[in-house]
């Protein structure tokens, strides 16, 4: 056991938990600013420790970078042993750095953004709870504690989506997110049951070492059930509908949970389980197909939405689709790399959008924006950096990560996935620049003059993220693949170890030209000629309406699940209500109550009755043993 890691790792995990508990129990007695300070400090402490840990681990030889710490036994049930363990490797470290680093920036931003909110302390307590749960998720050494973290982030997400609990839409959105996520939790639970059934353990070390003991079909099933969990958490098809609604939460929540970290847990899960997916080709293919389909699906919807945060939500779903595509085809480093850059530019976009929304007094409809480049130059420039990054314009970070994925899709022989990826990339460039131009170019279309307030606590994190979103891609330069080298320790036995640095220049240039064309189209439609835009809208007609309603998925689910469920409930209400639903339990309850009454009636309070009971009981017992057990009383 590595002493440095064993010392530092638990501190990283528990710093945010301590912060959460302090805010919850001590916070209400102290000034509100103290809660913010505790919240930010605890996450920053976790970040600083993570940096130290990462520096330590990355100095170890590659073969020694996977560290499994055991701290004791939680339960010993029959043969199954469940320990407390922490699993540190470069993959976990990548996620930990983002969770604590970006998490700290967003905490800092929240100090300004949530400054006027009455439930300031609650907000920071919940945010710290989230950071703790997410760290538990990525640091766990087995599926059980991973699931605990998985549920924890779901809970924190539920609490924070419904943070404005006096708004019914927020409460409904929170409920929707929770239900969708629980479907995923059950998927992971079933996967864990399967693991116990086959190898009797749930720790990564044992399960991954013994993938041979499963057989391909069982591995495929485990992969599929894990995918169900990943799909729900990462808002991929078909369990994606909660993510756009989740934008009801405060903007820092959208940036941290629903863009940078929690929604990428599915990617982490698949990458973590690469020994399973490497040997389960059908499940891996399902992951890639789900990812590609979600990328394209969400990108098309993003083109027509008017709510700035909903557009960003669909773009998140689309970008995570890329990551799924990458890990599904075995390009784990590419998926992790896109996670890293995406965390930078998507958090940046949300927070810059948050500044706009904040200054417009809560307005989120881009039809009422426009011309904000002069009024909010800071938001303009930072949002531009984020937009260029997500659109994949070199030398911004998104270019390197997204093209790595597309490149590998082509190189590994997945032409269809590559084509879908390129199409989604073009759409991404289009809708992001549509969003950008609608917000910042042209004339201001709102009715209320924006009240521009410059808050350093909000601008500093945004500026830092803007820099990171700009230069973050340089970890992978053509010919210099730093990122793969960093992650090498996490995938020593992956079947497809690929360098990200071998750029296929014809493909890259082709993609770039398509992206450029998309940007030009957006410029033409949203800056030069409103007439063109109206024409296109009219031509598209029905398709546009379909996209505006996100392919009617909510309505379809309503028809598929809610309507039959309600109909069934109605039918039960009419036909079985009396006989079964109410009748049987009522009869049982009546019978039990009657028994209870009988027992009550027996306890008359008369001492001699009690003596009689004891005497009768003893006599019956004696009768029972003397005549019932005469085979043993033979002597």
């Amino acid at each position: 056991m590595d002493a440095v890691v064993a010392n530092i790792a638990p501190q990283i995990l528990f710093a945010p938990l301590l912060g959460c508990l302090l805010i919850a129990f001590v916070g209400p007695r102290l000034p509100r600013s103290v809660s913010a300070v505790i919240g930010c400090t605890s996450v920053f402490a976790a970040f600083a420790l993570t940096v130290g840990l990462a520096a330590h681990v990355w100095h170890l030889p590659v073969a020694a970078q996977r560290i499994d710490l055991q701290f004791g036994t939680w339960a010993l049930v029959g043969q199954a042993h469940i320990g407390f363990g922490i699993w540190i490797d470069p993959l976990a470290l990548t996620w930990m750095l983002v969770i604590t680093g970006v998490g700290f920036l967003i905490h800092l931003y929240s100090v300004g953004y949530m400054g006027h909110d009455a439930n300031y302390r609650t907000f920071f307590a919940h945010m710290n709870l989230f950071v703790f749960s997410m760290l538990l998720l990525v640091m766990s050494d087995g599926f059980l504690w991973l699931l605990v973290g998985w549920g924890g982030v779901g809970l924190a997400s539920y609490l924070l989506i419904g943070f404005y609990y006096d708004r019914q839409s927020a409460v409904l959105a929170a409920r929707k997110a929770l239900i969708m996520n629980v479907i995923g939790d059950v998927g992971i639970m079933i996967a864990i049951f399967l693991m116990f059934a086959h190898v009797g353990d749930q720790s990564f070390a044992v399960v991954f070492a013994r993938t041979g003991a499963f057989g391909t079909s069982a591995l495929d099933w485990i992969g599929i059930w894990l995918l169900v969990g990943a799909v729900a958490k990462s808002a991929q098809l078909p369990l994606h509908t909660w993510l756009p609604d989740a934008m009801e939460g405060p903007t820092p929540v959208s940036a941290l949970i629903h863009a940078a970290t929690m929604v990428t847990a599915g990617v982490y899960l698949v990458a973590r389980c690469h020994p399973i997916y490497d040997r389960a080709p059908a499940a891996a293919e399902a992951v890639a197909i789900v990812g590609a389909a979600s990328a394209l699906f969400a990108a098309t919807i993003g083109c027509v939405q008017y709510d700035i945060k909903r557009v960003l939500a669909y773009s998140t779903m689309s970008q995570i689709g890329y990551m799924f595509l990458a890990v599904g085809i075995g390009a784990y480093t590419a998926g992790a790399f896109h996670f890293l850059t995406h965390a930078f530019f998507k958090a940046l976009l949300f927070m810059a959008a948050g500044i706009v929304i904040h200054n417009l007094g809560g307005e989120q409809d881009i039809r009422k924006m426009g011309g904000l480049s002069k009024r909010m130059p800071f938001a303009f420039w930072t949002f531009l950096a984020g937009t260029l990054a997500i659109a994949g314009v070199p030398p911004f970070s998104g270019f390197f990560s997204k093209d790595s994925i597309l490149d590998q899709a082509a190189a590994l022989g997945h032409p269809w996935l590559f084509a879908v990826g390129v199409a989604a990339a073009a759409l991404t460039a289009f809708y992001m620049f549509r969003l950008f131009f609608s917000t910042f170019a042209g004339e201001y279309r709102g009715s209320v003059e924006p009240h521009v307030e410059r808050v350093p606590a909000m601008e500093i994190p945004v500026a830092i993220l803007a820099v990171l979103a700009t230069i973050g891609g340089f970890l992978v330069l053509p010919g210099h693949d730093t990122f793969s080298a960093l992650l090498a320790g996490a995938f020593p036995d992956a079947i497809l170890p690929l360098s990200l640095a071998d750029f296929d220049w014809p493909l890259v240039l082709g993609t770039l030209m398509i992206v450029a064309a998309a940007i030009v189209t957006a410029y033409a439609m949203y800056v030069i000629s409103p007439q063109l835009r109206a024409d296109v809208s009219r031509r598209l007609g029905g398709l546009r309406l379909l996209l505006l309603d996100a392919y009617h998925v909510d309505a379809i689910y309503h028809l598929m699940f809610e309507v039959p469920a309600y109909a069934l409930a109605q039918a039960c209400g009419v036909f079985f209500e009396r006989a079964v639903i109410a009748g049987v339990p009522q009869a049982l309850a009546a019978a039990t109550s009657a028994l209870g009454g009988l027992s009550r009636g027996w306890e008359t309070g008369y001492l001699r009755r009690y003596g009689l009971t004891i005497a009768i009981g003893a006599s019956l017992l004696l009768y029972f043993v003397i005549f019932g057990l005469h085979d043993v009383g033979a002597r």
Binding site: T604, Y606, R608, G611
Partner: protein
């Protein structure tokens, strides 16, 4: 003097035990009930003494002395409680004491 067989002691003690039990159940005066209980305890003592004699073993007799001692303490405590309960009541009848029920 002819030795009384062990079985006779056992039958006698069983009779004492049952008589004590019935006495406890049918009497309503707590003092009488206590006396009935003493009869049951002494039925046990009789068995112990008879077997101790039969086995020529001291431990059964020691047990008898322990029981007698405890019985004395128990009687003292029970009488005190009976006095406490019935001090302000006209009749000494356990059936009057039934507030707690259900």
């Amino acid at each position: 003097m002819p030795l009384i067989p062990l079985d006779d002691y056992l039958v006698l003690s069983a009779a004492m035990f049952v008589i004590g039990l019935i006495g406890f159940l049918v009497r309503r005066n707590p003092l009488t009930m206590l006396m009935a209980v003493e009869l049951m305890w002494n039925a046990g003592n009789l068995v112990l003494a008879a077997f101790a004699r039969n086995f020529s073993d001291m431990s059964g007799q020691v047990f008898v002395f322990v029981v007698i001692t405890v019985a004395a303490a128990e009687a003292a405590i029970a009488l005190a409680i009976v006095v406490m309960v019935f001090r302000r009541r006209p009749d000494v009848d356990v059936d009057d004491i039934s507030v707690l029920r259900g």
